[in-house]
Amino acid sequence: MNQLKTDYLLDAKGLACPMPIVKTKKTMKELDAGQVVEVQATDQGSTADMEAWANSSGHQYLGTIEEEDVLKHYIRKSSDEDTTETKYPHTASNEDVKAKLSNNEQMIVLDVRESAEYAFGHIPNAVSIPLGELDERADELNKDDNIYVVCRTGSRSDLASQKLAEKGFQNVVNVVPGMSEWSGDTEKLNN
């Protein structure tokens, strides 16, 4: 897999338990909500611990890639997106989108999560543009397409939908709740 884009790289190689988690926890405090850290570790036990720790502390464990004896863990700092209200008026449910996809309707699924989130599981053929890059990359999209914007919980996609509407995109729909409860097909970047 190509280098995943992350906000911070933490080198915990050669460190034994508990240090990889101790260092990750410290790093998390420095990050902004929603940012992604890549933790490189060689302690084999770190994968299960990283996932269990992230779940218990509210962070989002995205996944782990093993590359030449180095474990690369990807974790996204918790944010308050679960509780934020969505404002953009045009929404579709996960089920609606699933049905449209299986009917092969003409549509673009735009995934606005961080690239590491996208890497560990996304709707097949979804286009990846993280929310933070949308302003500069919006011209990669076609204004007349039917665009279904998806993120993890419907919050970032709400902001993204508003942005796109402001830029003159006509047919933008926010998918609610999004990937956290997606039951349809997904694919991963090849590992």
């Binding site: 034994a16 338990c17 508990p18 988690i21 101790v22 084999q44 299960a48 269990a52 720790w53």
Partner: protein, 375 residues
Amino acid sequence: MAVNVMTASDVTKKIFNQESLFILDVRNESEFQDWKIEGQNFEHVNVPYFELLDGVEEILDQIPSDKETLVVCAKEGSSVMVAEMLSEAGLDVSYFKGGMKAWSEHLEPVKVSDLKNGGELYQFVRIGKGCLSYMVISDGEAAIIDPTRMTDVFTQFAKEKGVTIQHVFDTHLHADHISGGTMLAEETGATYWMPPKDATEVTFNYQPLEDGGQVTIGDTAIDIHALYSPGHTIGSTSFIVDEKYLMTGDILFIDSIGRPDLAGKAEDWVADLRESLYSRYKALSEDLVVLPAHFMIMDELNEDGTVGATLGTLFSKNHGLNIEDEAAFRKMVTENLPPQPNSYQQIRETNMGKITPEDEEQREMEIGPNRCAVR
């Protein structure tokens, strides 16, 4: 308060003596659920170390003041950290040296008995994983049965006893732990024996164990009779040592019987298993002392730490030997099975010599509880 250290050997003795101990296990929940240090009077609380990074205040009231407290983790590091924090909070606690990794590998030698003509029989209790190996000693010579991969324990013990290891046996192709058989034979120049029917795919040389065959240890003739007893594997072979001890491998345990499914042939092997247990063993003397290759629960330990009971006792108390109805027996050993051991396919391939994982990998493959039996 000072932080103390407790070793696997210390904890093993507490189990043997049925002492009480409070264990604070700081591994993650799934590892704790999979297996833990068990003793009849041991109490456990599981709080992952990563929940305690900001302090131990919240768990202080869960730790009893009237019991010894031991902090356990996977490899030691986290237990030291938590033990130090508890110590700073004024508690007197120990951490567990080497963590569950050391627990998985610890062998405690226990003397089973003297033999006729001055020999001795030792059982090596792998307390964390439930594996049992044996050493038969007579007149300067030794034979090892079902050795684990920690071969230095056997060579060291032989050295202390001043005996030369002449023969190494595996009762069958193991699926739950990595055999030290070929390695031990290589290190000591001993002859390595295994049942030919379990060895069809092995990549190394071995001496075939044949039904009725006999090997003598020392000048005082402690005979080891091979008794073909298929069912857990097709080649499974039992031994009768010194006309008194019946080593049953993974066919018959103290409180359970062998499972026939680990080579993917449960249906085919049920009849063999029943035949071995209900006919071949039935025909033997009830006074023979059964010494299995495993134990599953601490209740199976005798007061001196050994695992063994007479065949007569087992025929009256072991549920698996008392199922009259053949269909009910078949149902029990094919449907009522615990999960298969961790990495058992890889372990089988390692024991055939087909793959040679690194030490660290072998360790990981063996982590977890023993699951060779059905009750």
